[in-house]
Subunit: 348 residues, 2 copies
């Protein structure tokens, strides 16, 4: 039925061992023999049995990329970048060829753990966890435990956009400086003269949410400005849309609204428009991430640009072992303030 290594060996008149060596290319094989084997492979249309190979070699060529929401371009861009970095890693002859697969956790801790177990089962070569994590201590501990077991078993673990696990030396981490980004954004608004700023935050129990919010508060505190109303929601348009009513109810005098990310900001803009309020005339709005559509929003969104693509590529390289983890701790990747048309000095 299926063609096996021995079939190829028989046809090439060599031993299975030789075929294996030709395919893996880590042992000297005479050029003539190699050609004969390759020809047989070709003729038989042979495909290596992955499980058998992984079993015997105790490793696999799978790299798992875990993301919170694959439908969100924030993750899509990073995952895409990582995946191409990993795919290209297959530079040399053989061996480097890895299969990067992305797994969608939907932000659910259980699914995150399930995927990790599944990846562990498969003896994945590496795992990349993208995006902020839940701050529930139980979940954190469970994840950390699982990751360190995997690391022990030889799986490379890379964190991208998620705080490093304290004390885990096995893990490479790339973290975004969400706090500084939040600070910078709010400082910009303060600089324009805003003093009544509403905030639409993400889910309360996520690191990303907390850090951005903390940055916002730090900027406020530094300027001696009182904190405005804050509403928590999901990282989606609907949350932004819904938050506006609440924010305005809590402080009708708001002159600016900061959103947890660009998608939320879009929802905020929509709601504002529906109320007949102009942006930035009546209220300024700012987002975070600088997703591709943000420049096309009307008005174009002021936001904080995160190097999503670059970070994805770096995460991919770290996972491949092509690039070494920055020694001596990871300094966070900064975000860049991008000022566009959705923010302006408050009226009057």
């Amino acid at each position: 039925m299926t063609v096996t290594l021995s079939d190829v060996a028989a046809r090439a008149r060599v031993s299975p061992a030789t075929v294996s060596r030709v395919l893996n290319g880590n042992y000297p094989v005479a050029a003539s023999t190699r050609e004969r084997v390759l020809k047989a492979v070709e003729e038989l249309d042979y495909v290596l049995n992955g499980p058998a190979s992984s079993l015997a070699a105790a490793t696999s060529d799978l790299v798992g990329v875990l993301v919170n929401d694959i439908a969100d371009p924030f993750f899509g861009i990073m995952a895409s970048a990582a995946q191409s970095a990993i795919g290209e890693g297959a530079s040399g002859r053989a061996g480097g060829e890895k299969l990067a697969v992305v797994c969608n956790t939907g932000g659910s801790p259980e699914r995150e753990l399930t995927y990790l177990t599944l990846l562990q089962r498969q003896r994945a070569a590496a795992v990349i966890l993208m995006g902020g994590s839940l701050e529930d201590p139980a979940h954190l501990a469970a994840t950390a435990a699982k990751l360190s077991r995997m690391a022990e078993a030889g799986t490379r673990v890379v964190l991208c956009g998620r705080p490093p696990v304290p004390g885990d030396a096995h893990t490479a981490a790339l973290v975004f400086d969400n706090r500084a980004g939040g600070r910078r954004l709010t400082r910009h608004l303060l600089g324009l003269g805003h003093t009544r700023i509403g905030y639409v935050a993400g889910p309360a129990d996520r690191t990303t949410t907390r850090h951005r919010l903390e940055g916002h508060r730090e900027a406020l505190a530094a300027a001696g400005v009182a904190e405005g109303p804050t509403v928590h929601g999901l990282y989606d348009r609907a949350s932004g849309h819904a938050a506006v009513a609440e924010l305005l109810a809590r402080d009708p005098g708001l002159t600016a609204i900061v959103a947890a990310n660009d998608t939320v900001a879009l929802g905020v803009c929509a709601a504002l428009r529906e109320r007949g309020l102009s942006i930035p005339g009546d209220l300024s709005v700012a987002g975070f991430d600088d997703l591709p559509f943000s420049v096309d929003a009307v008005p174009a969104l002021t936001t904080v640009r995160l190097p999503l693509h670059d970070s994805g590529v770096r995460a991919g390289r770290l996972a491949m072992g092509t690039e070494e983890a920055p020694a001596g701790g990871t300094e966070p990747v900064p975000g860049e303030l991008v000022v566009r048309d959705s923010t302006a000095a408050p009226r009057g």
Copy 2:
């Protein structure tokens, strides 16, 4: 080092066979024995060796989802839906537990084939190909050959948004009626009174591109209206942006522009705005897909809504074997015309 089945067996004082049976749950095991085994599994923190298991059982729990561009919400939404349908399929005790992984081909035929081979290596349980395909005959043949080999080997193959391979009975296919959608959209424009309509198409060699464009032409032909200028580009914002100059150069009297999809339409709108043209005052613009941001564009985009989420879910179910493929050929999934503010009657 690593805990194996035998370790568990030893601790539970049963044979490895029994442990395997408990874990797979497809053979009668006395309740007391089962509990003993489960307890040992727990205590030893045992994780099944996937490769070994796949090797012995000649199947794996991997489901591959191939997409053209994971950073594009069009694919993100479908992939996400498919993945959750597959994840939930793990309803019953054991066995149903599948790992859905998404693979980003970047629209490259080679990478598509590479991923397929890798998935074939892993003896994937199923493969879902999402989105239109390249129309190159060589590639089509290669893909079809590979898919049918995989199908023979027991991998379920599902096509979602891609035309079925003629004569391949193994393959379930879900196709979007891009042609009808294109027709409907252009008819809408014609109905408003437009007769000089530009078209920004996707890459020329993709099925999706061709079908949408054909629908457009059919509508034009049916109304006896001459075809306007057409420009091909990628399915991204930049292409839409760049196309405007060319379109307007070819016919400065254009009153409407139809874009290959919403992302392209956004680029078109941006370029128009930069030229000081108002939408829909000076020109109407229409997109395709109805991605989440389209409703928030200003003006909100007229477009054709495709049931991305539903289709993804169905594709996932088909891959799981939970849902049977529609017998007697697949009738295409229709798109729904969504009229919003970016289209209006041409001026004067």
